[in-house]
């Protein structure tokens, strides 16, 4: 007994036009409004805090900057109080975690939740198509996250503006705009880092398929990447300039120092103790050591210079800030696009 | 419409003794071994880092202290060496989020995962009893978190000891003692415990894992800010370190116990 059927010709996808992308706008919003709303609330609270702290900081700066004469005790007091305002924010490290948190808590659950709860069996069998659905969601939500992050980074830039205003930098002991704590909070870097955290999160969610492990993996991967970029990569974006001595315009970011004698390389970094003992052991009494990181009132530099050594510094001037921003933003964006592309390609292959 | 029965008085539970608590040991471990293992790995990696930088720091410190004459250029150079060592560990900021992270990734999962996946319908109909199950799990995990955090904070205290030992390199005006307060003594373990307890409550109230983790981090931050700004301003931690530690530790312990008690009570009262 043969079953009688009319043979069906192979259906071609070419006959069916894909559904318009904008249909995914509502879908993406509806499923991720919790996460996006949460990010907005979180950043809103932070923004409120930064706003009040920033007003305080700006006020202290104005008071200190307009005080004359600047060497008087009263003005020194004002400068000191400016320097100790909001110390926790000063180096900028506290805010470094933000792109990671935003990316991890928005990006990782995007695909991991669908897979973990099984709803991908609904979502990826709809007429919209598996890959297009994923692409639409990642792009739409990624854009939303980038916009929110961008708005926030404008506020952050405003906050740090007193430290970076030109003039009197040494007086205010302000950090360089290229310093690791501040660089990626401003300009396009903050947005770019948030995007890359989001992209890492999405891929981690797809690979790991469980939400909480994906979040943890995203945070770990982001931390690794950020440390790598800040400590190893960034200083090489453009060839550093070289200058004699260490008296550089305060906005410069010194990446390494070394000493020569007689035109030949002597040593790098800090002077070796044995050399100092040998050449500079004459004890001239100084006060206790200076502030952390500063060369206090004693001066091994002077002593070594007297003995024919020359100090050199590699540095990146403040004018490199925007080129660096574009370079870092560029490769981060490229990396994000690559991660998203890999995610979409893997969607077909990894799931059921 | 009534069926005819003679109503009988309801029996009490007095006749059945509860099952021994140790039965929950295996259950708790089996369900949370990945979270606990993750915490161990995370703290282990941090410990390795602290250990290696700390050895260097202690070495440089010893050299600087032993150098004579104290005011000479060479000895001052050694002092500068000491002050420069440590990188981002210097201010202690980097380690501040650690208790929050430990608690936030262990605490909320306990109840939120059961509620989110529906397995509470199995767990809460077993013979062990619902609130006993909850309290056994929460207490076991709380002890584990506090113990691991406590062990880690011993290493942290060792690391920062050169900055805080009285001597010619000690700067009493520095705010370092203030910032490091939460990382030393019993405070570190107490903060990790508090984060865990907040997380447990968040998990029970919110019933979904990821929002509960976020809420825990937010709640912890709010608590930390309140304690730092409002309470610590009234004390000078450098002066009477241990008494303030005991006050803060005791307060956090009481708060944690309260959160856990509330969580268990919610398990007992709230239902499907």
């Amino acid at each position: 007994m043969t079953a009688l059927t009319v043979p069906v010709g192979p259906a071609k996808d070419a006959g069916l036009r894909p559904l318009p992308w904008r249909r995914m706008a509502w879908v993406s919003w509806r499923h991720h409004r919790g996460a996006l709303g949460g990010v907005a609330v979180f950043l809103g609270v932070l923004a409120a805090w930064l706003w009040t702290a920033g007003l305080q900081l700006h006020h202290a700066y104005t008071a200190a900057a307009t005080c004359h004469p600047s060497s008087s005790a009263a003005c020194q007091n004002l400068i000191g109080s400016f320097q100790s305002t909001n110390v926790i924010l000063k180096g900028g490290f506290v805010l470094q975690a933000l792109p990671a948190l935003i990316g991890a808590f928005v990006g990782a659950p995007m695909l991991a939740r669908e897979i973990e709860t099984g709803t991908f069996r609904f979502a990826w069998t709809q007429g919209f198509g598996q890959r297009r659905w994923t692409l639409a969601k990642l792009v739409l939500v990624g854009l939303a996250v980038a916009v929110i992050a961008g708005a926030f980074s404008v506020l952050v830039s405003w906050y740090y503006q007193p430290y970076l205003a030109s003039g009197n930098r040494a007086v205010f002991s302000s950090p360089s705009p290229l310093s690791p704590g501040l660089f990626d909070l401003r300009g396009v870097a903050f947005v770019a880092w948030t995007l890359v955290a989001f992209a890492i999160g999405a891929l981690a969610g797809l690979l790991i398929r469980r939400i909480v492990p994906a979040i943890v993996a995203t945070l770990a991967a982001y931390a690794g990447l950020a440390l790598l970029a800040g400590n190893a990569l960034r200083q090489h974006y453009l060839t550093p300039l070289v200058a004699k001595g260490s008296n550089l315009p305060g906005a410069a970011w010194i990446t390494s120092e070394w000493w020569t004698k007689g035109g030949r390389f002597a040593f790098g970094g800090r002077p070796p103790i044995q050399l100092l003992r040998q050449l500079c052991s004459a004890s001239f009494v100084t006060g206790p050591g200076g502030r952390i990181g500063e060369r206090g009132s004693f001066s091994p530099t002077t002593c070594l210079v007297q003995h024919g050594y020359t100090q050199w510094s590699d540095y990146q001037p403040a004018s490199h800030f925007w080129p660096f921003q574009w370079i870092e933003g560029g490769w981060l964006l490229a990396l994000s696009v690559l991660l998203v592309a890999v995610t979409i390609w893997l969607v077909r292959r990894r799931v059921a | 419409m009534k069926t005819l029965t003679v109503p009988t008085p309801t029996e009490t539970d007095a006749s059945l003794p509860p099952l021994p608590w140790r039965r929950m040991a295996w259950v708790t471990w089996r369900h949370h071994r990945i979270a606990l293992g993750g915490v161990a790995v995370f703290l282990g990696a941090l410990a390795v880092w602290l250990w290696s930088v700390g050895l260097q720091l202690h070495h440089v410190y010893a050299a600087a202290i032993a150098c004579h004459p104290a005011g000479s250029t060479a000895c001052s150079e050694l002092t500068l060496d000491f002050r420069v060592t440590g990188g981002i560990l210097k201010g202690g900021f980097v380690l501040q989020p650690v208790p929050a992270l430990i608690g936030a990734f262990v605490g909320p999962v306990v109840l939120a995962r059961e509620l989110e996946t529906g397995t509470f319908r199995y767990a809460w109909t077993q013979g062990f009893g619902r609130w006993r199950w909850a309290i056994a799990k929460l207490v076991l995990l709380a002890v584990a978190v506090a113990a691991v955090a406590g062990a880690f904070s011993v290493l942290v205290s060792w690391y920062y000891q050169p900055y805080l030992s009285p001597g010619r390199l000690y700067d009493p005006s520095s705010a370092l003692a203030h910032w490091l307060f939460d990382l030393r003594g019993v405070a570190f373990a107490a903060w990790a415990l508090a984060a865990f307890a907040i997380g447990a409550s968040a998990g029970m109230l919110i019933r979904r894992v990821v929002p509960a983790i976020v809420a825990t981090l937010a709640g912890y931050t709010a608590l930390a800010v309140v304690v730092a700004v409002v309470l610590r301003a009234n004390y000078q931690p450098a002066d009477h370190f241990w008494s303030v530690q005991m006050i803060e530790g005791g307060g956090l312990l009481a708060l944690s116990a309260l959160f856990i008690a509330v969580t268990v009570w919610l398990v007992h009262r709230r239902a499907a």
Partner: protein
């Protein structure tokens, strides 16, 4: 002893009453079918019985006089929830270990034998099992606790016909050999028809029918006759529900036998359980119960 006894039991979620004015007494030693459409309140009733939720009104006691959710109740009742939730990351062996830890009685040998018979390796993680296997594992865990009462919430919903038969065979064996009372809810009555001793019919949060199947069927008759005559004769009888097509009418009536002799051309027979259930479900105002053994004589109380 009644395994479940409810008195004016009600449960409200917000402003909605999921269950209301529920009074019933389920005797021990029976296989009780709890039947009704989706949303009828079956899951609510079962959740109340196993202590997962507390009543908003009325009382419920289980296994004689134990409070639902108490240690004594938890000890004697094994529950398998809808969709048989198991911990996805735990292997079958882990699930046995956990259930053994959490209960007073656990028959490890039985559980391992059962899993062996089912062909489920002990190292298999629950998340990787098929729906049928998960249901069987959940049932094994429940039966290995040696309960007095086994409560199953829509256990057959996701199973294929073969799995369903295997599942019910296991349940029946436990009921017959070990004397386990069973309360089983379903919205598909056909499967339970053959095996149920006691029927509870729920609809829109109310209990419409509660009673021994034997007694219920004996208390109703199905009359079949010409459709054109049904209206004329219907008022003679206590009709629960009348249905007709173009030629024939089926009338489900209450009464041991028709009080008057049947009109010519009409037949009567005992209704099937399915016909009884469908009739009551269609007549939402109707209700019925019948006596059950062990609690004294109880005339059929019928209200409309």
């Amino acid at each position: 002893m009644n395994v479940i006894e409810a008195n004016d039991l009600g449960k409200r979620y917000g402003n909605t009453w999921a269950l209301r004015e529920c009074t019933l007494a389920v005797p021990e030693g029976c296989l009780t079918a709890l039947v009704g459409p989706n949303g009828a309140g079956k899951t609510t009733l079962l959740n109340l019985a196993v202590g997962l939720t507390d009543p908003s009104s009325g009382t419920i006691s289980v296994l004689g006089a134990r409070r639902a959710g108490s240690l004594g109740a938890l000890d004697g009742i094994a529950f398998v929830a809808q969709d048989a939730p198991l911990y996805k990351d735990l292997s079958a062996a882990d699930l046995l270990h956990e259930t053994r830890n959490l209960n007073r009685r656990f028959d490890q040998g039985y559980a391992e034998r059962r899993l062996g018979e089912l062909g489920i390796p002990l190292r298999q993680k629950a998340g990787r099992m098929s729906g049928g296997q998960q249901a069987q594992v959940a049932l094994t865990l429940a039966l290995a606790r040696r309960p007095q009462l086994l409560v199953l919430d829509e256990p057959l919903a996701n199973l294929d016909p073969l799995s369903r038969e295997d599942f019910m065979t296991t349940v029946m064996a436990a009921a017959a050999e070990d004397g386990v009372s069973v309360v089983l809810s379903s919205h598909v009555l056909a499967e339970l028809e053959r095996v149920a001793d006691y029927l509870v019919l729920a609809s829109h949060g109310n209990i419409q029918v509660a009673g021994e199947v034997e007694g219920l069927l004996a208390a109703h008759r199905m009359l079949v006759g010409l459709a054109s005559e049904s209206a004329r004769y219907a008022q003679h009888w206590n009709v629960v529900h009348a249905s007709s097509d173009s030629s024939q009418a089926h009338l489900l009536i209450r009464g041991d036998s028709a009080a008057d002799p049947l009109p010519p051309g009409w037949d009567e027979r005992a209704p099937t359980l399915e016909e009884l259930t469908m009739a009551y479900l269609r007549e939402s105002g109707a209700a019925a119960s019948s006596g059950h053994r062990g609690s004294g004589a109880n005339p059929s109380a019928v209200t409309r």
